[in-house]
């Protein structure tokens, strides 16, 4: 018998095994080529109908979920910009209490909360951290389009170094206003929450089906889980929508967005950029947001990416530089 604590999903090995049924469907008003919306579609498809979802304010609320035309076929609720973690805790606690008291049938109901890079990666960090310390089966998905996209593309703590946004325009005195290096949220979650059993990064299109399988794993391991997804945004990153998938793939293959899973403390690379990486220029030069960068800037970014893969104690995951000194 499957206890409420367990979930059993088939892994999706080929496109033929992808469920046909949609739980995030038409009705949203996101831009063409919006990879954040694709993340929503895949997470819903992978999780299936016995799921409740909350989403924090951002494009995936404002552009995504309009009254009378909601794309959500599974139950969905808005949560405040910094409240993804709290919303997951609240729903999980509510469902568990009702099941313990016999007021709801015992079954495993998936609890998923999503947030953007600003809502989750900056404002909502403490709430997500709190959720990942809990003993509920919940999943937080941070969809990262590298800006506060909904409010017109402002830089966040997760925006790539050097990118142009409405808060970081290139000017005659300063070419680069975004001088912060991208915050390493998944690594931070993995390192900071020793009992969290599953942390992963993913990209909805590359490798194909990977995100869906990671969502299923996250929902099966038992306990809280966190997935950080890389979501190219044609409007904010300034490229033609037809290239969204390609930009995602270039981001992964250049190693600028590391793809991995941490399962019970073990790191597994989904794309091992230690072994093969394409130059980061191939990714940067396809996007208008980097058009103002000069060679020197690109070299700097390349050097930071190389360091991440060659010098970090846990490449792509944890930025300590070994070996450890004696006490």
């Amino acid at each position: 018998m499957v206890t409420p604590e367990q979930n059993q999903y088939e892994p999706i090995k080929s496109v033929h095994q992808v469920p046909l049924e949609e739980f995030y469907s038409s009705g949203h008003r996101t831009c063409q080529g919006c990879e954040s919306a694709l993340t929503m579609r895949h997470l819903a498809k992978a999780a299936g109908p016995r799921t409740v979802v909350t989403g924090s304010t951002g494009c995936m609320y404002v552009a995504n979920t309009s009254y009378m035309t909601t794309p959500w076929i599974i139950p969905w609720m808005h949560t405040q910009l910094g409240a993804a973690g709290a919303s997951a805790l609240g729903m999980s606690a509510g469902l568990r209490a009702l099941m313990r008291k016999g007021r709801l049938a015992e079954e495993r109901i998936n609890v998923i909360a999503f947030c953007g890079d600003l809502g989750g990666g900056d404002m909502g960090l403490s709430g997500i951290s709190s959720a990942l310390q809990s003993n509920y089966n919940l999943l937080i998905i941070l969809y990262d389009n590298e800006s506060a996209a909904n409010t017109d593309i402002q830089a966040t703590g997760l925006t790539t170094y050097g990118a142009q946004t409405t808060f970081t325009p290139p000017g005659s005195a300063q070419r680069i206003m975004q001088r912060r290096w991208k915050k390493n949220v998944a690594g931070m979650m993995a390192v900071g929450h020793p009992t969290c059993r599953y942390v992963a990064t993913a990209c909805a299109t590359y490798p194909p089906m990977d995100l869906m399988n990671k969502v299923r794993k996250a929902l099966s391991v038992g306990g809280p889980a966190f997935i950080h997804t890389f979501c190219p945004c044609p409007k904010g990153w300034d490229y033609h929508p037809r290239y969204s998938h390609e930009i995602g793939e270039l981001g992964v293959r250049s190693g600028i967005f590391p793809l991995y899973e941490v399962v019970e403390g073990q790191v597994r690379y989904t794309y091992d950029a230690r072994k093969r990486r394409i130059p980061v220029r191939e990714y940067l030069t396809k996007q208008g947001r980097f058009a103002h960068l000069v060679d020197e800037d690109m070299d700097h970014i390349q050097q930071m990416v190389d360091e991440m893969w060659e010098k970090w104690e846990v490449p792509g995951v944890a930025p300590f530089k070994g070996p450890l000194s004696e006490a």
């Binding site: 959500w72 599974i74 139950p75 919303s87 729903m91 568990r96 209490a97 009702l98 007021r103 403490s126």
Partner: protein, 409 residues
């Protein structure tokens, strides 16, 4: 309030010496709350200390979550409520305001959670003592807001609060306010209701077709913009207008089960007002020195009385107008401030002046700002407020006068 045991006799099972916070914790146990989210701030925290012990001792089955912040705390209970769980949280002072965004949407989402607000000053400079601006900050957002004055009332209003908040006609969150220190931490003998009587009064929480569950796959709070937000605000408004009737009903049933007497004056209590010429009106524990002052002045033959407002939202406009118009002068006690407001008075002053405005003959209304940051309000202070209120009768420019009492000028 005096209580008498009726034929139902065993509606109360024991007596215990409890503080206001401890009484609320007992109320939470008796309401069989499902989810509690805690975060520490004085003075409300004691309620969470005791609830955790009640759960640890197996006297309540509930999920107890230690939140990362008040914002997290309030969002946790909001979302727990949306899946059909009865939920409890609370805060004080700056903590209450830290979670303010969540408080606003809990009301617009019409989720009937219950919060304890242990009133506290809003800091800088630091002050732990009572001031009412914290709880009053939600007064226009679609909250039920009520002040209790004894631990007994506090316990009982957890049950009454959930009952009103969860009623299909209302479905609004409930803030149960009590004065920091003077009630949160002052001990009284409290009669504890039996579990059976509490269950009889408070049915299980049922959010019906608004519950978020895979078998009821709705979308809650989608983006509506100007297309729909007015209609939704209008529904909130209508719910608030239905609340007084539901409160009155709840009190009648409570009285029938527990032998209390709330229903005869549900929204405010009157003390020695029958033949009074001059009354003071206030919220919370100022009732104690004010009533003693009334007794002492009456010994000297002065016709004075006290009106203690219990429900601030919904505001009991018509009954309070009918009550207050009988007097020659009304002194409004504000343990809060409203800088730059009409008359430069307190918040309660404005509510009462506005409530009295349609009356053809109005008493003179004066205002006292007193007891901020937990400064003691003495019996002598209350006697002085009565004197000053009486002086406003017939005096030119007396009406609307605002005075700060007990302040170093």
């Amino acid at each position: 309030m005096t209580h008498t045991l009726t034929a139902t006799g065993n509606a109360y099972v024991s007596e215990e010496l409890l503080t206001g916070c401890q009484a609320v914790a007992q109320g939470v146990r008796l309401a069989d709350v499902d989810v509690i989210a805690a975060y520490p701030i004085r003075p409300y925290t004691e309620v969470m200390d005791l609830i955790s012990k009640i759960i640890a001792d197996g006297r309540l089955t509930a999920e107890y979550i230690i939140a990362d912040s008040e914002h997290g705390q309030f969002e946790i209970v909001k979302h727990a409520s949306s899946v059909g769980a009865r939920a409890f949280a609370g805060s004080s002072g700056t903590g209450w305001l830290y979670g303010f965004e969540a408080l606003a949407v809990t009301a617009t989402d019409r989720l009937p959670v219950l919060f304890l607000v242990g009133n506290r000053a809003l800091d800088d400079p630091g002050a732990f003592g009572v001031e009412h601006n914290d709880a009053l900050a939600v007064r226009d957002l679609g909250w039920l807001l009520c002040w209790v004055t004894t631990p007994q009332e506090a316990l009982e209003h957890v049950l009454i609060g959930y009952r009103v908040a969860e009623d299909r006609r209302v479905q609004m969150p409930m803030a149960l306010a009590m004065d920091g220190a003077f009630l949160t931490h002052s001990q009284h003998i409290v009669r504890i209701p039996s579990v059976e009587a509490a269950r009889k009064f408070l049915p299980p929480y049922d959010l019906g077709d608004r519950r978020l569950h895979p078998d009821n796959p709705i979308s809650i709070a989608p983006q509506v913009n100007e297309d729909w937000v007015m209609e939704i605000r209008r529904q909130n408004w209508e719910a608030a207008r239905r609340a007084p009737q539901v409160i009155a009903e709840a009190y009648r049933e409570f009285d029938a089960i527990f032998g209390t007497d709330y229903a005869s004056s549900p929204f405010f209590t009157e003390f020695m007002t029958e033949d009074a010429e001059v009354v003071l009106v206030g919220l919370g524990t100022v009732a104690a020195p004010a009533r003693t002052a009334v007794r002492r002045l009456r010994e000297k033959g002065e016709r004075v009385g006290y009106v203690g407002l219990r429900w601030f939202r919904p505001f009991p406009t018509v009954p309070l107008r009918e009550c207050l118009r009988r007097f020659q002068a009304v002194g409004v006690i504000d343990r809060d401030f409203a800088h730059g407001s009409p008359d430069d008075g307190g918040i309660l002053l404005h509510e009462i002046r506005s409530c009295l405005y349609p009356a053809a003959e109005r008493p003179a209304v004066v205002n006292f700002i007193i007891g901020l940051g937990g400064r003691d309000i003495s019996i002598a202070d209350c006697q002085r407020m009565f004197d000053l209120t009486r002086q406003a009768v017939g005096a030119a420019g007396g009406d609307g006068l605002v005075r700060w009492i007990g302040v170093r000028e």
